[in-house]
Symmetry: C2
């Protein structure tokens, strides 16, 4: 029995998130079905590094699975890419120690959030960025966002549907940059709460638009009150960018 | 009664082409329904500059419609953008002479075809470019493609489903260029036959792959035989880029 660690990217538009659902297409089910075909095994379960919401994308998503198959690592990459639809791509496969688990061994992650900031509606970003027509101040947002860096209780930046025991997380880095019409929010942390990045981004957009004061982030964090933070930014702008082990 | 000329872009992934269909979502139907709501009129018919196939995109598509409405040009742009889904964007609206017709007055068009040429499957191009794993020789294809320029009978580069009386067209320019992993084919002509660009691109890919000789394009054109040309390249790589009046 070998343990395969696989890295993939996906456009989440057509999926109801990574995790298998009883009544909707998920990335997990799509990959597991392709693996069953490829390995000629009846049940293959993959351990994903993370859940992702409906419509959220991944540039680097890691999963692992155990198999008796004698297939090579290259065989997994080429075979899965041939069997999977165009919106899921496998980039790497390695054999790892039996104990490796993509979720439990994850030390941190980096997310990117893209906002297409233009008065001209670009239909080619409809599913891959959030549209914001009012001009955003990326410097103001970047300065404010530094209040997120460090160990904090992020309860105010967590969906009320969140079921995690502790809401304390360590944010290592937060940057807001512009390239032309695209504003990019990048955040890395040792872990994320449900909707945490999308609420952080929504709050920073409110700060840029003047609906929340630029210096109020520390007090919003301290309040541990979700209603003090901004709106949850929509799913289609969010990318799981990197996974750290 | 005023005549409105409107320029739009769309991601064609979710549509069965521009033209209204009885049993499937089309760009035309989506825009006409939005116009009926915006103008509070019961039937608004738009004249599109072209048909596009299922899954084909447009960066600049022109249509016109007549209306008694007193709405401003800006009102059409903002109103339609608010009512239309994210994958259709309106960029411009002008009042034009009553006789203007987006299709009949069209003097020529430019198409672009995108091929993502990489050994690494990129899921973010699944619906917006054609994937080709074998390295393409853009210089060889660009040199060969110059045989298309000029007035020719393009019957060999027309789907057998084509119902046009004359298959003679004038190609003004054809260029093949690479930027990183993306190979772009640009062609402008006074008109195009059904699937013409996609068959031209498929034939050039066969030339790059060595399945058709680089110097055989003039004789393929002369043959007027569809079976001598290459495979029709898939719809998702094709963009209507510009419309000339």
């Amino acid at each position: 029995m070998r343990n395969f660690k696989v890295t993939m990217a996906y456009d989440g538009t057509a999926y109801h998130g990574f995790q298998r659902q009883s009544n909707a297409a998920s990335v997990q089910q799509t990959v597991e079905e392709a693996l069953c075909t490829l390995l000629k095994e009846e049940n293959v379960t993959i351990n994903g590094c993370s859940r992702t919401d409906k419509g959220v994308h991944a540039r680097e998503f890691v999963f692992n699975f155990h198999s008796e198959s004698t297939i090579t690592e290259k065989g997994v990459v080429f075979g899965l890419n041939a069997l999977l639809p165009g919106d899921i791509g496998i980039s790497k496969c390695e054999i790892v120690p039996d104990s490796f688990h993509a979720r439990f061994d994850c030390k941190g992650k980096e997310y990117e959030y893209l906002v297409h900031n233009s008065r001209i509606k670009n239909p080619f970003y409809a599913h891959t960025a959030h549209m914001h027509y009012v001009t955003l101040d990326e410097n103001k947002m970047n300065a404010a966002a530094q209040a997120f860096v460090g160990e904090h209780d992020f309860k105010a930046f967590c969906s009320t549907a969140c079921d995690k025991k502790s809401t304390i997380r360590v944010v290592n880095e937060f940057s807001v940059k512009r390239e032309g019409d695209m504003v990019s929010f990048k955040v890395s942390a040792n872990g994320f709460l449900y909707n945490m990045v999308r609420i952080m981004v929504g709050t920073l957009i409110f700060i840029s638009d003047g609906r929340i004061a630029a210096d109020s982030l520390p007090s919003i964090i301290d309040s541990k009150d979700r209603t003090k933070a901004g709106k949850t930014a929509p799913a289609q702008g969010l990318y799981l960018n990197k996974v750290f082990y």
